[in-house]
Symmetry: C2
Subunit: 178 residues, 2 copies
C-alpha cells in the first residue's frame, strides 16, 4: 500500500488529535516517564514528532523534487527535540504539534503531487536511494510507530500493578535493544 493522502495518509492529519485524546490531563508522572534506559517518555515522543515535522519530512520531500538524487538529505537529529521538551509542557507540545502538522499537510496538498512525482528518487545519507512515495509512506508508519511507543511507555508504568497478568501482556516485554 503506497502513499495516498485520501487513504492511509489520512492518519497524518489525525495523529495530533489522537495523541491529545490519549494524553491530555493524564498525571505528569505518567506522561514524563520512559520505559527503560535510552527510551523516551510520551512527552519526549511528542517533542520528537514535532521536531520531525519541522526538520525532516517536508524539507526532504522538497529536496527530492528540486535536486533528485544529487544532494543527500540532511541527517535527522534524533536528539533534536531536547530543548523543545525542556521548554514546553505536554499541553503546549500537543498544541504546537497540531499547528505544525496542519501547516505541513496544507503545504503537502498545495504541492499537488502526481504519481510521477511520487516515483522520483532522492538520496538518504545512510540508506541510499529512496523515492518520494517511500518517504511520505514512512511519515505515516513513523506516526504509528510512535503512537505504539507511547502506549508502551504508559503501559510500563503499570508493570508491577497488573500482578500476575504481566505474563499475558506482550506490551510489557522489555524494549528491543537499540
Amino acid at each position: 500500500m503506497g502513499f495516498d493522502l485520501e487513504g492511509s495518509g489520512q492518519i497524518l492529519a489525525r495523529t495530533p488529535r489522537l495523541l491529545r485524546t490519549l494524553l491530555e490531563g493524564l498525571p505528569d508522572e505518567l506522561v514524563r516517564a520512559d520505559y527503560g534506559p535510552g527510551t523516551w517518555s510520551p512527552h519526549e515522543v511528542v517533542g520528537h514528532l514535532i521536531h520531525g515535522d519541522l526538520t525532516d519530512w517536508l524539507p526532504r520531500a522538497r529536496l527530492v523534487l528540486e535536486r533528485g538524487e544529487a544532494v543527500a538529505f540532511e541527517p535527522f537529529d534524533r536528539a533534536g527535540h531536547a530543548a523543545l521538551c525542556r521548554e514546553k509542557s505536554l499541553g503546549e507540545l500537543l498544541d504546537y504539534f497540531a499547528t505544525v502538522r496542519e501547516t505541513n499537510l496544507a503545504q503537502l496538498r498545495a504541492m499537488a503531487l502526481t504519481g510521477h512525482d511520487l516515483a522520483r528518487r532522492g538520496r538518504h545519507p545512510a540508506l541510499g536511494p529512496a523515492t518520494l512515495g517511500q518517504l511520505l509512506t514512512t511519515w505515516v508508519v513513523h506516526d504509528l510507530n510512535h503512537i505504539a511507543q507511547i502506549c508502551k511507555a504508559l503501559a510500563f508504568q503499570h508493570k508491577e500493578a497488573v500482578g500476575p497478568w504481566q505474563a499475558y501482556l506482550s506490551i510489557l516485554a522489555p524494549p528491543a535493544p537499540r
Copy 2:
C-alpha cells in the same frame, strides 16, 4: 502505579474515541488486514475489546467482590468476538464499543470501590490469586496493548511501500510468536 479512575484509569473512557479517531473512514483493505498468521486485523481487535467489556472485566470484578477467591473467573474466550466481527462493520463496532464502555464505566463508578475493595483477592483460572486492583489495572494496560497492536497492523500494510526505511521502523518487526 495502581488503579485510579481519575489517574491512568481515565484511559478507559478515552479508548473508544481514540480508536474512532484512528480508524474511522480508513480504507477497508487497511482495517480488515492482519499482520501475519494468527494475528488480528484492527476490525478484529475492536471486536475483541467489545467482547472483553461484555464478558470479562466487570463480571470478574463483581465475582471478586461477591465470592473472593472461592470461585475462579470464567476463562476468557479469545475467539469469542468472531460472530460480532462477521455481523458488524467497523463503524458499527466503534459505535457499539463506545456504548458498552460507557455503560461499564458508569457501573464501575457506581460500585464506589474503596482501597479495601481494590485489595480484595479473586482467583484467575490459570494465573491464580489476583486482586481487584490488579484486574482493573490490567483492563487499562490491555487497552494500551491493543491500541499498539492496531498501530502495528496498520503499519504492516506499508511494509514494502516504505522501501529502505523498513530497517529503521521497529513496528515492522515480525510479530512475536504466540
